[in-house]
Each structure stands twice: as C-alpha cells, then as structure tokens.
Symmetry: C2
Subunit: 159 residues, 2 copies
C-alpha cells in the first residue's frame, strides 16, 4: 500500500476540517481498526474490535463514522452473501479489486482484473453511460473436501 495510517489519517483530518468536521478520538480509533483490518469486517466485528481499544465507543458512532468515511469515499461497503454490510478501506490510489466468495466457507479472496474492468467501461459506454462504479462478486467452490479455506480468516494480499 502507498499510505501509512498516519498519512491517511492526516488526509482524513484535512478533509473533515474543510467541512467543519472533526477527527475525534472515536473516529480515529474506528479508522485505525478498519485500516489495520484485512477488510470485510461487519459492524458487529468492527464494534467489538473498537471497544477493545476504547470501551466507551457506541454502536451508533460506528455506524455514523462508517457513513462519514463512506461519504468521503474513504471506505467501501460490500454486501456479499448475508444481508449484512462489510467494510474496507477504499483503495488509496487507482487500484481496485473485486471479490470471490467461497460458497462453502464464506472465505473472501480478492483479485484484480483489468480486462474485465475495461470491458465494463466498454459496456457502459456502448449503452450511453459514463461508468462511475461497479460491484462484482464471484461465487465459487474450491471442490476440495475439506474446504481449505474453512476457518481461515479473510486474508488480504497487499503490497
């Protein structure tokens, strides 16, 4: 990755300041946990991790902070399989990844594919749209028994 948490946090602070908003301790902790995570945490998990660092942070604040970060495009929301949203720090540069979810164990693998992205652009253009975003999730099965991802926690391949 190209940013350290401190760099990223500074950017966030500036961004907030520009809107008369503040980087409160709570927001900082939430961002920190999110940044440290491999991504794909849901609110419950996030809240628990946050409370481990600061026991006073409320559920609502987690939600509000996530929304705040999302509004500033610093966090990306994904709703994979169950109805519950999962969050990850948005790509810092222009990189973008998509997800493959294991139907057997729910393990999430990330991947990049520029050919697909190019075709998506092409499709949108052909239909008269400017592509502004996309969501793509592949669902697969590894076919091995036991599933090698079982009990594996989401691991993020970075840098």
């Amino acid at each position: 990755m190209t940013h350290t948490f401190e760099q990223w946090c500074g950017d966030l602070e500036d961004l907030l300041a520009r809107n008369q908003q503040r980087l409160t301790p709570q927001r900082r902790v939430i961002a920190e946990v999110l940044f440290g995570q491999d991504g794909h945490v849901n609110v419950d998990e996030l809240h628990q991790l946050v409370r481990a660092k600061d026991g006073s942070v409320g559920y609502a604040t987690v939600y509000r902070t996530l929304k705040l970060l999302e509004d500033h495009d610093l966090v990306h929301t994904n709703t994979f399989v169950d109805g519950t949203a999962r969050y990850e720090i948005a790509a810092h540069d222009d990189e973008h990844h998509d997800h493959l979810v294991c139907k057997d164990c729910g393990h999430i693998t990330e991947f990049e594919n520029h050919d697909i992205e190019r075709l998506q652009e092409e499709v949108a253009t052909k239909l008269g749209f400017e592509l502004v975003d996309h969501a793509m999730v592949l669902y697969g099965r590894c076919g091995r028994d036991p599933c090698p991802h079982r009990d594996a926690r989401t691991k993020r391949r970075r840098g």
Copy 2:
C-alpha cells in the same frame, strides 16, 4: 423468450408436485405478475400488483412464494442500490444478463456480455475455484440533463 407463462407454470407445477407442494391460486397469481413484469420489482410493488388481481394475498405469502421460487431457481434476486431486494424471473435457457443502474434516476438497463463472463470463469479457475454464480452491477450516469431515464419505468428488452 422461449416459454409462455402457461408452459412455465406447468413446469412449476410439476416441480412442486415432485415435492408434495402445490401451485395454489396465490402462488399462481404471484408468479403471473412476476412473469408479466419487466423484472426488478421489490416486494412492496409486487405485493401491490398481486393484490390488484387478488385482494386477499398477504405480504408473508409473497415473501414465502418468492423464497420458494428462488429455491427452485425460478426467480433471481438482486439487491441493487438500496437495501431492498428486487426480483425477476430467472433466465429460462442458458442466457444470463447483468445490470447497469443509472445513478441519477435508478433506471435499470440489462445487458449481456459473454467476454466478461468468460473472464470471470477464467479468474475463478485461476484462483482454484469452480465458478457457480456471480453478481455484477455497473453504476453509471448518462450525463444528459434532464436524465432521459427519469420517470421511465424499468423496461425489459425481451424477445
């Protein structure tokens, strides 16, 4: 499309019979409305349309029937933008389409792209998975003002 509603309904009836289940009037009406729709209705809309034909059908029955149809792969669920699920009759043959949602008005355009699908297979294979399903939604803006899709109801290009 390759099936008329009656054909499709016959298949459904057989399918249900095989599981000691019945094609009740309520289920028939729900299926009929769904079949006649251009797709992408949410439960609320569907329920209203159904009640126009049979005022006694309850909300729960709509949900239960949708789940039933989905379990039999006759209906496909999509959760586009808001948290609410939208439903459409599943592809009758091997055709499959994806969606492009207009960020301005929510209008849903369908498209097919076999190149993308091939690449998705490729990605999954390369990662050691058998691709069993995928969800892909493109979000776009047409850039024209007023948005030509505004107030347009979802239109499905069929046969």
